[in-house]
């Protein structure tokens, strides 16, 4: 419709929708076009502008972004928070959140709303939101599903500007009423069915979740749909020492989405790593635009959940939203430069590398080990992750042999033997890290009684490097307890250490892909003309009518399809016999007299 209208010179659509008809309102928003809304009683009048180019879109987006980030302030930087539904029974979710806010040391005002008590956990309780001594910016709602719409409406009327609804199991009517209340009163909404939000900024110490512990303040932003995954990420990043800047468990994502959080981290001045766990994408276009921009500044990592039928079925039942299809999701990640991992562990392993080390310029890895077998495992792991173990030049080999003990083998992997000293290992790694044929160094170490007896500490050889190295260095310690650790280095930085060579190799491959992606120009979205989607659809449907399971188009149909999208094609002709072919060749040949002939036999693809 938009295409037809544009080609007819129409510049705007006007639509009237019921304010509670959020499916239609969402559809309008998903168009990715500038849309003005005006509330007229229960109606919303939407004006959708069609006269937009790339630059205009960018400008609109920048304005929207600033507004979007500003609208998150009451959610992520509230000066007063109230918890509705915090009772006296241990094990209630509301009580858990209130306790968490209290023990987390929230620096603003904190209230409970509960008509039956005067205080909960030492926090003063009031009978209603309206009865609070001041209007909180943020209200955490933890009442049973049936009570949620009324609480939301009450909050809206009182001037509350953001809600976190942890309650799960809202039915269709309750969900609609909640959304209407938020839209009518202009409140941002996190949830429902979520774990809560945190902002570790020490000026704030906001921890409005019911996770088991408090996150360590730091530089990673986390947004998850699943609270469970959120807890795992909070724990993992705290343990690694990277820590968390802000956290949002988005649950059913009625309003605040991964997109909002990406924009927040882009401008909060505290986040240098973004971690997402999303099971569905409400607005893939907007998400892709934001992510493309943010990934140029900071790494954005995600767990690609719902890869299998079983996983998608589980996700659909979990977040009550049709999970986005695998192909679509993966295309989205690739296009936006998002680092997509297959598990929470892989996410943390990759985050540890991206947090601590420079990006490798390419996929060439030097492997160093004090135990040959560990070198074999590391070589396998690197090759399987798509990395390359280049051979060393004779000069490099001589250089390394000069510093290593007798018996050392300088292939790639370098086998230093078990008798290598701390100093020799440090020299070896430093030389490799300076070697122009190498993009990264993986050092696989095994503890032996030999090193123990001399007091040599091979791990220390990595962490006492003279100044931060220009190329990434990763340690693998097969006997390590945790799958990944960040070891403090003498220069104030850290070195990632992995229990499995696979984990190190996978993380490094992600880093190399990120480097390759950053090296590409950003690109723009061209305005395409001459696109005949409808005709293309007809061509495809006509074919599928006779080929129910799909197949290969014949060259003529293929050419027709390409023409629908104005894809340039060389002049060609179809010939069914020798004479036709000669005539066609005569007609088509270029100034050098040459033509290309392609044979075609239905169903036969490879012709040699």
């Amino acid at each position: 419709l938009v295409s037809s209208a544009r080609s007819e010179g129409i510049t705007a659509f006007t639509a009237d929708a019921l304010g509670e008809n959020h499916e239609v309102l969402r559809l309008f928003a998903d168009l990715g076009l500038r849309t003005a809304r005006r509330f007229e009683g229960p109606q919303v009048r939407c004006t959708i502008h069609l006269d937009q180019d790339d630059a205009y879109l960018a400008a609109v987006e920048a304005r929207g972004r600033a507004a979007g980030v500003a609208s998150l302030l009451p959610l992520l930087r509230p000066s007063a928070v109230a918890v509705v539904g915090a009772g006296r029974t241990p094990g209630s979710v509301g009580r858990a959140v209130l306790n968490h806010l209290r023990t987390g040391g929230f620096t603003g005002r904190l209230f409970a709303v509960n008509p039956r008590v005067e205080s909960v956990l030492g926090v003063p309780s009031h009978p209603s939101v309206a009865a609070l001594p001041m209007t909180p910016d943020l209200v955490v709602v933890a009442v049973p599903a049936a009570g949620v719409p009324a609480v939301a409406e009450e909050c809206g009327k009182a001037g509350v500007r953001a809600l976190v609804v942890v309650t799960a199991g809202l039915d269709r009517m309750q969900a609609r009423a909640l959304l209407t209340a938020c839209r009518t009163h202009g409140m941002r909404l996190v949830g429902p069915n979520c774990l809560g939000v945190s902002n570790t900024d020490p000026e704030l110490n906001l921890d409005a979740t019911f996770a088991a512990g408090h996150p360590r303040p730091g530089t990673a932003g986390i947004a998850v749909q699943s609270g469970g995954v959120g807890i795992a990420l909070l724990d993992g990043l705290s343990r690694l020492g990277i820590g968390v800047s802000s956290f949002a468990s988005l649950g059913d994502k009625f309003d605040v989405s991964g997109n909002d959080m990406l924009q927040w981290w882009e401008s909060d001045g505290r986040t240098d790593l973004a971690l997402l766990h999303l099971e569905s994408f409400g607005n893939p276009r907007a998400f892709s635009r934001t992510a493309r921009r943010v990934t140029r500044r900071i790494p954005v990592l995600t767990v690609d959940a719902g890869r299998t039928d079983a996983g998608r079925k589980a996700a659909a039942s979990h977040t009550a939203a049709a999970a986005t299809r695998t192909m679509t999701r993966q295309a989205l990640f690739t296009q936006a430069g998002i680092t997509a991992t297959r598990s929470v562990g892989e996410l943390l392993e990759t985050a540890a590398l991206l947090h601590s080390q420079p990006l490798p310029e390419g996929p060439r890895v030097a492997v160093v080990t004090n135990a040959g077998g560990a070198g074999v495992l590391a070589a396998d792991a690197c090759a399987e992750a798509g990395l390359v173990l280049p051979p060393f030049t004779p000069a490099v080999i001589d250089d390394l042999l000069a510093v290593l003990p007798d018996g050392a083998t300088v292939g790639n992997p370098v086998d230093t033997t078990a008798v290598v000293s701390e100093e020799q290992l440090a020299e070896c790694v430093d030389r490799l890290a300076r070697c122009s044929g190498v993009d990264a160094v993986v050092v696989a170490l095994v503890p032996t009684a030999v090193a123990a007896a001399t007091g040599d500490d091979l791990v220390r050889a990595l962490t006492t490097a003279p100044g931060r190295r220009a190329r990434p260095v990763l340690a693998v310690r097969l006997e390590q307890d945790r799958s990944v650790e960040l070891m403090p280095a003498a220069d104030g930085g850290t070195i990632p250490s992995y229990a499995e060579p696979q984990a190190a190799a996978r993380a490094l491959a992600h880093a190399a892909r990120r480097a390759a992606w950053l090296a590409q120009p950003a690109g723009t979205v061209p305005a395409l003309t001459g696109v005949e989607s409808e005709r293309a659809r007809e061509v495809v449907e006509e074919y599928l009518a006779f080929h129910l399971e799909g197949g290969w188009l014949d060259p003529r149909t293929c050419a027709e399809l390409l023409a629908c999208y104005d894809v340039p094609q060389l002049p060609w002709a179809w010939a069914e016999c020798e004479d036709d072919a000669v005539l066609a060749a005569d007609r088509l040949r270029g100034f050098d007299g040459r033509v290309v002939m392609k044979a075609h036999w239905p169903g036969l693809l490879h012709k040699t």
Copy 2:
């Protein structure tokens, strides 16, 4: 040659070889035939018997096995051990091994051999092996490579019965001299280029390695080519609480091999889990025969090292032996029922499951979670590992809903919600573990403040089960530090707990494959007659001469090739025109008058 000779009625070959020509002697041994050897000066006369059937081979093998195990006694149950090459310099490998034997509490007699000192680390030292007050069963050799042959010869003459040579870097001549000494004097040899051996039997406490720590006594047998991987496995199994029965680092495997160790564990009465890490197979046939037998009794796990070109190159340089090709190795593992993992971590994760839980009868998994997102990750992981999440019957669903809190979703995964109590979770898991449509239960738990506040411990719900369950139960705790732990259960057993759903799913898939393998009949190796390998080779080579890159044989050549191996074929004929086809059909048709016609067009494979 053997085939031709057999078909001519020849029953034995006789061959004379130089005793030091171990390549030829190994070739004879690798035939898998009964071979008698008699030393005649520097010559060895070998008689290779050709008249053997399956039963005969089994009998021979059983005898050899008993002899083989007996020959390992001085190595793995020595009553006196000497270390040659233990000096006073900290950091020498010999000193490290001696110290390890001492601190490990070896119950037998312990000596050092070093002419320059009277004692090392409080252990009496003697100038030579011959000068020791008693002849040790086992000598650990840690002198420089050049000195190894003389020490080996001295040991042989003194009546020593087993050597562990930790020294690396022997050249060809030194290696040959070492082997000759061992063969001439009938000594078993571990190494060279190895970490040593351990036997944790408390009557013995033999720890003759230079690993960093002592292994915890237990039930896993470990044999590795790489000392580094050995250290990782010793550490990992000790940490898991499975512990180690005996350990051998085989290094360059001049004599004692994985095969020997499998036979030892088969009969030592202490081992219920065998872990191998092999980069090469000297005698794949013998190994396969032994492994097929041992895997029926205890699980045999291995790390499949050298899967990639990079890994194989590294392995070749590490153990100085051409690594066995991937295809060959994997076929060997599959045929022998060996559980082949891709990393040390996966090996330990799988060992933890096989050690602690019954085998699943099939691939059907029920997933239970208190956090929907963790359920999605677990569902993905199970599906990717080849497991199945079956839907539950209405009866099971009702049954589960009756015990779970409001809001719980009983699909597969079962989402109990965060407010599930310890008791409810235990009930749910028990019901699923008794459900006939389920082969295993994976429980993905996330710690929340809700459970913490009520004092409910969801993990305890798994470990306090009423008696050992008949089906395996696995926990996944995304926030867990270690990749796998064995949690003590109330019944004295343990429950494996994984940090990653992938790890749990992979381990479970390995267990399901082992169960399927055990369910197959053992099978025998038939005596094949009418095999014309030479003709088959000709057919293949003729084809390859014209098709350098291989391809599909035409039906006539294919039939010819099958005939070389006496593979039964239905009567068939080749027809090039309609009349030929009618005549052939007339000739070939069965009593019901039916024939099958197959079209053929060169290069066209799929004809529909």
